[in-house]
Assembly symmetry: D2
Homo-oligomer: 327 residues x 4
């Protein structure tokens, strides 16, 4: 684990405006982007008739932009990317880039099932302003997604991507864990800078950090529920759906970890576990969007087949926040 002091200077450097250059540097020359910090995976707002509501997207980003995030993930699982057309995916990223503060990173989800489509989407994402591409594991043919197949897939994507690539493993959605041996091999690719791991197994996160320690490879926790533990094991940040509603608190947790205030960090982490589970595993994106409505953001409806919460679910969702003192 880097010392709090070193981290502090790294983060200050970023906040002094070094970030804007990252995009340019990263491409071509294999320079790596620093993804350390907290990134909310933003939702895609829809109108009542299920059109993408770009205005609401911009409003949300303006509000979120005031918080000390490192950047934003656009078109992650939380962004309902499987429900968008290719042109919607790109337009959402383009609009987000405009609405976001210039010094924040934009990590764009560009994963598709085929390698070729993923390459094309990644290149397009770069063109509309993404700083890095977050590439989810292909999964429909998971029975054949061996380490060899996944290494081949990511190598091809990274070879051809003009922006750095972040691996993305999210077994709750894909039914597939990107194997540790594949991660270790891929960490040596000059255009692969890190990984988002949403599986919640921090022993695995520790092992990945350990076995990639000779690479410049950064691991992000994929959820706020195990953020403290991930920092303790050597992760450098998180992509946290919860940060869409409790963004200040998640950043506070980051700060406590980076500065070594582990006791306070633990107390705060404890109070975030249930709210986090509520807006992820338990009630999904409908739960997160409902909560956003409560916290002054625009949540709104999801696209079908995702359904609104029932009244009983909504009540349980509320309890997960009130019982921890957040509502």
């Amino acid at each position: 684990m880097m010392s709090p002091r070193v981290w502090s200077s790294v983060r200050q450097g970023l906040s002094r405006g070094l970030a804007p250059n990252v995009r340019g540097l990263a491409s071509g020359e294999g320079r790596k982007v620093d993804i350390a910090g907290i990134h909310p995976p933003v939702t895609t707002p829809f109108t009542a008739t299920a059109e993408v509501d770009y205005g609401k997207l911009e409003e949300n980003l303006h509000k979120l932009g005031t918080l000390p995030f490192r950047g934003f993930v656009v078109q992650g699982s939380t962004g309902e990317f499987p429900f968008l057309t290719s042109s919607e995916r790109l337009e959402v990223v383009s609009r987000a880039r405009q609405a976001m503060p210039k010094d924040k990173l934009l990590l764009a989800g560009s994963g598709c099932e085929s390698t070729q489509a993923t390459v094309e989407m990644t290149v397009s994402m770069a063109q509309v302003g993404a700083d890095a591409a977050m590439v989810v594991t292909p999964c429909y043919y998971r029975g054949r997604m061996s380490s060899a197949a996944l290494i081949h897939h990511y190598t091809k994507v990274a070879d051809l991507s003009p922006i750095p690539v972040v691996l993305y493993s999210v077994p709750a959605n894909t039914g597939l864990d990107l194997p540790v041996d594949a991660v270790v091999t891929l960490s040596q690719h000059p255009n692969i800078v890190g990984m988002k791991d949403s599986g919640g197994d921090v022993t695995r996160i520790g092992l990945i950090v350990h076995k990639t320690r000779r690479q410049d490879f950064q691991v992000l926790a994929g959820s706020a529920g195990f953020l403290l533990a991930s920092y303790a094991l050597g992760a450098v940040g998180g992509v946290c759906a919860l940060a869409n509603v409790l963004g200040a608190q998640v950043c506070q947790l980051e700060r406590l970890c980076l500065t070594g205030q582990w006791e306070d960090a633990q107390k705060l982490q404890h109070r975030l576990i249930e709210p986090n589970a509520a807006v992820t595993r338990r009630f999904g994106i409908p739960g997160l969007k409902k909560t956003m409505d409560w916290f002054g953001y625009y949540g709104g409806p999801c696209r079908a087949p995702l359904q609104e919460l029932s009244p009983a679910e909504e009540e349980a969702l509320r309890v997960d926040f009130t019982s921890n003192g957040w509502l």
Copy 2:
């Protein structure tokens, strides 16, 4: 189970040319298409540079068209549909329609993750010549795919589809079983005619047949490995990847079941279990395509990230056929 005699006349009626009208009748008036029989889920041939090879598709269909199949599934899981663009999906169906005998059904896989995209794809599939749409369960947000969500999804699709809809549950790919209660509810929809169940749990297939017995609802086994058992429980046919290479044998198994020759059926079924597992669960589409090359069809490469078989895998694949007397 309908008597062999009744089935025989049903199948004769179809073969006497009633089928061509089915397409017209089914749409609009809610008339149902009879999907009973064997349907190979055809592969999508690719060139060495991973372009769709429409010529090879037509060649394969010409060869397969001489066998007593009820129809063909185009763009099922075996067709690598997640790797095709929307326009490729439609073009493949359009070309297949031209290459197929007129009296065979074309069941087109039209499932997408969002309800809206599925509706649009289904309508388009109808326009390019599909007789019915086979709609896989959306699955990326499987944690929220409750019975209610799935009923909503399929109802919307069936309401708006100009062609009959066939439900499609394939947990090995989706991580999701379409719940029996949802199937029972959906079986009452006038434009939902049946289901393909690839899960392999014949107790479940029997229960679905039993609980939909008052509807005109047809269940197809999703694999040749449990075809006999499915017939014994009341299924009326199968969508069998193995029929791409052992089509005559799978149709022979159908005939033995329909005519009540269960002892011979059992002997034949036994010899098909290992080859079937080899071209599905064990070696996937790469295994099926390799086998097609052996049996006089065009197999060719898969799109990435699916990888070719290793030499050891290829040898094991061969043994699964030779040890059962098929090579």
Copy 3:
């Protein structure tokens, strides 16, 4: 599949009294016992203070003894064997042997976690009158229960058992499927006569029948839910918890299958699926015992930690029987 006629003579032979000799022949000389037919896995009755109620056990067996079962499984999973002491396990078998008709087989569950304990229990079971031992897979260290480990275990038990051994795979309880390759190897042992498979995967059952066809190896379905399908694939009988309450109907289903009346068999099978699920997977032994009370047998309480059904569960259990015309 043996012809119905052949089976009929086999069964008649058994009912004419050939069975009593089986026990003597089987031991020592490696002669095999014929386990074809239906076997209820009997429950262990308890008093209100959780003592084994041997009187009720005898009463139940007297009633069940009038039905055309091939035999009884005593100390299977349904018999709550993990809750009994070693001496209770033996005493239950001893009493059952006395209470059962002489011409019925007694298959005694003798599985323990260690190989040595299983050998000892098997020998003891033989001494108190078991005709064959049904040996469940050890499972606590399932991560190390490779085919090699399981082959070693069963070989040792079969080598030392004075009575024939029946393999028993029940993944719902053990989290472990006895691998097909292990079954094939073990089927060659002269003192292993067959297998009870409760997993419900009839493709697997068919494959086991196929790959052991050169051995005298008999496969029993482990549940009434897939009994017809198992017969269709070559199984020769079943160990069916449901037969404790709908024994005549399960035997009728057997007869319909053996005599090739598949249409009637299908109708009957359909009506047994929900009641069977209710007394096994859905409500477990508490559900079965409650149902026994309804059907004129003694059910009574289970030992803790198994709990009585809640009123809502009891109502749902009743519906599973009434909606299929059994209550």
Copy 4:
């Protein structure tokens, strides 16, 4: 998280000899034992003929007794308890009590499948010298092991136990996670002092610590792989199979966590992940015993059906230690 200073004084208190009284105080009056610290779950040594080798048990304990452990778990999963007779289980505990330093806690695994047997074993364990009972979840009927059933089970055991009870959840062996809501309810029982959680989900561990914070309830990590993360979330110690061979290092990791030296802790934790996986999930007890032989303890054979490692497994085991600098 308690401050390092407070913990330090707690641990010093224990080491100054307060512990010997714990045993007496705990029983009867509902006084709680402090289980904070590291506890190796000791193996049961066997002779070449599979007899318990009590002499080797004593030798191992003498060696281990020199390390700064809080105590020892005897008859945990690592102790092959399912392979021992009841009298062997008690004799092993009795001998361990004699061989152990007086100021170390003895936590005895006393779980059985039935509630009654567990109560009896727990009482007997107390009689032969156990300070607390570690009670694994019953699991054979896991489909019926609801929260209600498990609460009933543990309440009864705790009511009747003369020594404090520690809950024990180990899903890799039992296929069952003790639900959080059940843990929270049980934490209020005056004779239940804590829990060993071997599942590896530290979000869950954090939630349990959080929701039991008003009780005097102590959580132990069930494996060294997530020990640092568990401390960071509020656990107070660990039951670590790895401590049988790298005991000093595991205790060093504890000290680094308790004194807030998180960077050094992380480095050490990283190097323990692979060796820990090797002696638990990957190669099981045969792997641990082989490693014990390398590290100067007596490992020896396991009871069947556990098999010795193959030469290839043994080599892989060795690499997991050498590549991390431990051999």
